[in-house]
């Protein structure tokens, strides 16, 4: 057995025991490595892994806060929250898109139009951002989806709140609407609340500008979930803190009435409290229904809104600009008196005014006119003559003091402030000198001068109250404005003229208030949409060429309390279209029953109230679009 070159049994025994010890050492080393590693993970990195374990286990769901209400000046709700059921899709968790959508279509009776929107939003959605399938569901539909959930991964039915505007379209422009956060908005503010299903932000109007006050604080629900997402138990729930309510100066009943009273016309009504400057009504019609937006507006409805020639998406009271026409005459009267013109001085109206070799026409042959009767009859000749005497540079500052050309510090996204022209303005804008005929055009509210219905209402309120009223939409205690820099007698002349317009032998005598002891002063205006050619006076023909009808007013004449401006687009005349609306709106403030009777008679002729007519319009539009399939429209 002994080989000189090989090991012996004894040597191997020795080798064995050494190597066995070595293996024991290796084993001990491995044990030490595992123990050390474990200690490192469990002690040094304990915090990190504890957190990871908790975030595995706990699913935090935000509960969107209920939005603060909008309430009117006496606390009536203008915008509230309505409990509703909704169904969303979380794109990340969606597994079989076709099948899931198919099942949902069946369960919720989705229309082709809804499906297109969902498909489109799913395509654009980022993984975490839920896509709304349907909102405002009844409990039955909600339950139908809920029981099928195991077969519908990625579908999330929820109970939540959606914005509700009891007045519907009437407050669309005033409040704007709410909608889901866009990808752009989320990029600017990475607040996880923004992408919580059911959370909406203000997209327009006061809803947008008052967003931070209205938003509130989200609640949270902590649930323990398994790796497969099954909820084991609810750990804790912190309820949401609703946003704070916003009280507006609006008188919602008056506002709604005015909106309804505009009827089938396209126009605006603005009512201002002459004591404070509070905006009591700020109506622009026609308007979208903000409720449609809070539930996610359909493609077709959107298309209809954008193709309507009455522009329901535009807030005409703040953003519509019109030549104010003769409504500026009381203002001009103030300027004339400021320049020393005696209100008793008479100008004889022979049907026009000659300036150089051009005759500026009047609407009639009024004979001798003083300042009051010129306002009453809306005699252009008188105003031509006086404007030619004082020049428009003397009138423009008065116009500005009364609110024309002014942008007010109101929480609306955009106001258009129009133009009060003067020589400096013209030089800057056109590099031309101001001409006398420019003055003549401007003084009757044509030519370069344009203003919004809201500015006209402010002007009426300031003339009526004699105070520098600042319009306000958020209700708060404020000091009444200081006196305008005009003597009371000057203001009284303008008011007298306006009194005569309605209660004398003026242009709006048919719109006298039928309320004992209360009279209304006003001024009509008819604004040309295009230059008069030939004999055409803008009183007929295609709608878009017809004159706008305007009316500014205040009541009661004895002690002005309310001022208003009404603009009816293409209404063909202030007396004909705008003054009757103003009459009913002011009547509503004093005698609701009478005003409602008048409105109900009118609505019967128009084919129902706002909602009814809008529903009919939508149905007609839908029918006109045929089967809405291959249509593509931009949202």
């Amino acid at each position: 057995m002994n080989d000189k070159r090989g090991p012996t049994t004894g040597q191997l025994e020795f080798t064995f025991s050494r190597r066995a010890l070595f293996i024991g050492g290796v084993q001990a080393a491995v044990g030490a490595v595992v123990a050390t590693r474990m200690a490192y993970i469990a002690v040094a990195e304990n915090e990190k892994y504890k957190l990871a374990s908790e975030s595995n286990r706990i699913n935090l769901t935000l509960i969107p806060p209920r939005r603060g209400w909008f309430i009117d000046r006496i606390g009536k709700p203008i915008a509230t929250n309505r409990a509703d059921f909704r169904v969303d899709i979380i794109p990340d968790r969606l597994q079989n898109r076709e099948q899931t959508l198919g099942t949902l279509t069946q369960l919720l009776d989705l229309k082709q139009e809804d499906l297109e929107r969902i498909e489109k939003e799913l395509k654009e959605a980022q993984g975490f951002q839920p896509v709304q399938v349907a909102a405002g569901l009844d409990y039955e539909s909600f339950a139908r989806v809920s029981v099928r959930l195991p077969d519908l991964p990625g579908v999330s039915p929820r109970q939540g709140f959606s914005r509700f505007y009891p007045s519907g379209a009437a407050v669309g422009h005033l409040l704007g609407y709410v909608g889901t956060v866009s990808a752009e908005e989320y990029r600017l503010d990475k607040n996880p609340l923004l992408i919580t299903p059911g959370f909406k932000v203000g997209k327009q109007g006061l809803e947008k500008t008052m967003e931070m006050r209205l938003r509130g604080k989200p609640g949270a629900k902590r649930t323990e979930v398994t790796a497969r997402g099954k909820i084991v138990r609810e750990l804790s729930t912190r309820s949401d803190t609703p946003g704070k309510p916003v009280q507006l100066t609006i008188d919602i009943d008056l506002h709604n009435y005015a909106a309804r009273r505009l009827g089938v016309e396209s126009g605006s009504v603005v009512v201002i409290d002459c004591l404070t400057g509070d905006i009591l009504a700020l109506v622009s019609m026609p308007c979208f229904d903000p409720n449609s937006f809070s539930e996610g507006i359909g493609r077709l409805e959107w298309k209809m809104l954008n193709s309507d020639d009455r522009i329901p998406m535009l807030n005409k009271s703040l953003q519509g600009l019109y030549p104010p026409g003769s409504t500026l005459k009381p203002m001009a009267a103030l300027a004339f008196q400021q320049q020393g013109i005696d209100p008793e001085e008479k100008v004889v109206c022979g049907g026009g005014y000659r300036l150089g070799n051009r005759v500026f026409k009047c609407l009639g042959r009024h004979g001798p006119m003083d300042m009051r009767s010129a306002i009453m009859k809306s005699c252009n000749t008188y105003f031509y003559a006086m404007a030619n005497r004082v020049g428009y540079d003397a009138i423009a500052p008065v116009a500005k003091q009364l609110g024309l050309g002014q942008e007010f510090p109101l929480p609306f996204q955009s106001q258009r402030y129009g133009t009060v022209p003067d020589s400096a303005w013209k030089r800057k804008k056109y590099d031309q000198e101001w001409s006398r005929s420019d003055s003549l055009n401007a003084v009757i509210g044509q030519g370069y001068v344009i203003a919004s219905p809201f500015q006209l209402a402010v002007m009426a309120a300031r003339i009526a109250s004699g105070r520098m009223l600042e319009p306000e939409i958020l209700l708060k205690n404020r000091a009444a404005g200081k006196h305008l820099p005009f003597p009371e007698e000057h203001l009284q002349v303008a008011r007298d003229g306006m009194d005569l317009v309605v209660n004398g032998a003026g242009t709006a005598v048919r719109s006298r208030l039928e309320i004992p002891g209360i009279t209304m002063g006003g001024k009509t205006g008819t604004a040309q949409v295009r230059a008069i050619k030939g004999g055409q006076r803008g009183q007929g023909g295609a709608r878009r060429f017809r004159d706008h009808g305007l009316f500014v007013c205040f009541a009661p004449v004895a002690q002005p309390r309310y001022a208003a401006a009404v603009v009816i687009e293409h209404g063909m005349g202030g007396a004909r279209a705008a003054a009757p609306v103003a009459k009913d709106v002011l009547t509503f403030l004093y005698d609701r029953e009478k005003a409602m009777a008048s409105l109900e008679a009118l609505e019967a002729g128009w084919g129902g109230g706002i909602d009814e007519r809008m529903a009919r319009q939508y149905a007609a539009f839908q029918a006109g679009q045929g089967v809405p399939v291959a249509e593509r429209s931009e949202m």
Binding site: M1, T9, F16, R19, I23, G31, V34, Y49, K50, E224
Partner: protein, 368 residues
């Protein structure tokens, strides 16, 4: 003997039985908690199995060493035939199969082959004249005995088993006195070949697996998920654990295979570092016992078998624990005596039974 305890019982290797009992009981407790505080489906089964197989091991310890020596080679041949049979059954059944169903228990030949490789290599070295240990004659028979079963299990495919065979044979060769140069050379060769194999031998998806092992966080939903969740379970347990029955990782199914391969993580979440050290400590005692038996045996076959089988158990422990703490790739090896699973427990108990037999029959100095 003081006479109160009967001699045959007092003669049992109580120390190792206590160690194993400790491990199995701890495992039973963890399985009880993992099932949400229930003996079914795992804990009761586990403990019962332990008791039966422990008894089997004690019975095995009664068999003389010569018995094992005599059946070694026939046993090896029978298992080879069974591996072929499994292959054929699997082929006929139209899918890979690793076990033979014997009605009462399912029987996995590739699993039993692990201790058998130790037995057969030890048997070979015992017969080899000591002087030949450095020569070629000490290598090729081992190579053949290793390659045949390895190929058979690789076909299955079960690379882990083949790796275990190589490890077992290498350990026995090391203990038997193979020149160190074999091991150093082998280590160097692996170090050189591994990168080459990685870059030229592996398909992209296989490369991904290796990369995921090196960086599990890069693949949180795929293969890295196991390792990440296991680390979260251990790490969140801290020093004293979340308490019995309070492990969320296992109870809420975040930890995959929490009752088998990742039972250590399940345990660590509830018992913390303390529990981990207890288990490691019990394993240290077990290993020390096995190596001590090997060193105290005077019989070369007994030495090599005891050392080799101890390392077979160690192989399971090492791979499993390194995997669970994130130091080794995910492999399907359970934690001996703690994990739920019959096949591995059988193998482990066979190892223990044979080592106990060697302890009981250390041989006589006179023979050597």
């Amino acid at each position: 003997m003081n006479g109160i305890v009967p001699a045959p019982i007092a003669a049992l290797p109580w120390r190792v039985i206590f160690v194993l009992f400790g491990l199995a009981t701890f495992g039973t407790a963890v399985l009880y908690s993992a099932a949400g505080g229930s003996f079914s489906p795992w804990a009761g089964n586990h403990f019962l199995r332990f008791c039966v197989l422990m008894t089997m091991a004690v019975v095995m310890s009664r068999l003389p060493l010569d018995f094992w020596k005599k059946i070694t080679f026939p046993l090896y041949l029978v298992l080879l035939l069974m591996l072929v049979a499994v292959e054929l059954i699997g082929f006929a059944g139209g899918g890979s199969q690793r076990w033979i169903n014997l009605g009462v228990i399912t029987f996995q030949p590739s699993e039993l082959m692990k201790p058998t490789v130790v037995l057969v290599t030890a048997w070979f070295f015992d017969r080899l004249p000591p002087s030949k240990i450095t020569g070629w004659d000490a290598i090729w028979p081992v190579a053949i005995m290793l390659v045949v079963p390895s190929i058979l299990v690789i076909i299955q495919p079960d690379f882990d088993a083949a790796l275990a065979y190589i490890f077992c044979a290498a350990v026995v060769g090391f203990l038997a006195g193979w020149p160190l140069i074999y091991f150093i050379g082998g280590g160097v060769a692996v170090a050189i070949l591994a990168p080459l194999v990685f870059f030229f031998g592996l398909r992209p998806y296989q490369q991904d697996r290796v990369l995921i092992f090196l960086n599990p966080e890069n693949d949180p939903l795929g293969a890295g998920y196991h390792i990440t969740q296991s680390k979260i379970a251990i790490g969140s347990g801290g020093i004293f654990g979340k308490g019995f029955g309070n492990g969320t990782q296992s109870h809420l199914d975040y930890l995959p295979e929490g009752h088998t391969d990742f039972i250590f993580a399940t345990m660590a979440e509830e018992w913390g570092l303390l529990g981990g050290l207890i288990i490691i400590g019990l394993y240290v005692l077990l290993m020390r016992w096995g190596l001590k038996v090997a060193m105290e045996s005077t019989n070369r076959y007994g030495q090599l078998v005891a050392g080799g089988l101890t390392c077979t158990i160690f192989f399971y422990i090492m791979i499993n624990l390194l995997m669970v703490v994130g130091f080794a790739p995910v492999a399907g090896l359970p934690l001996p005596f703690v994990s739920h699973g019959g096949s591995s427990m059988l193998t482990m108990m066979i190892c223990v039974g044979i080592i106990m037999s060697i302890e009981r029959h250390p041989g006589r100095k006179a023979f050597s």
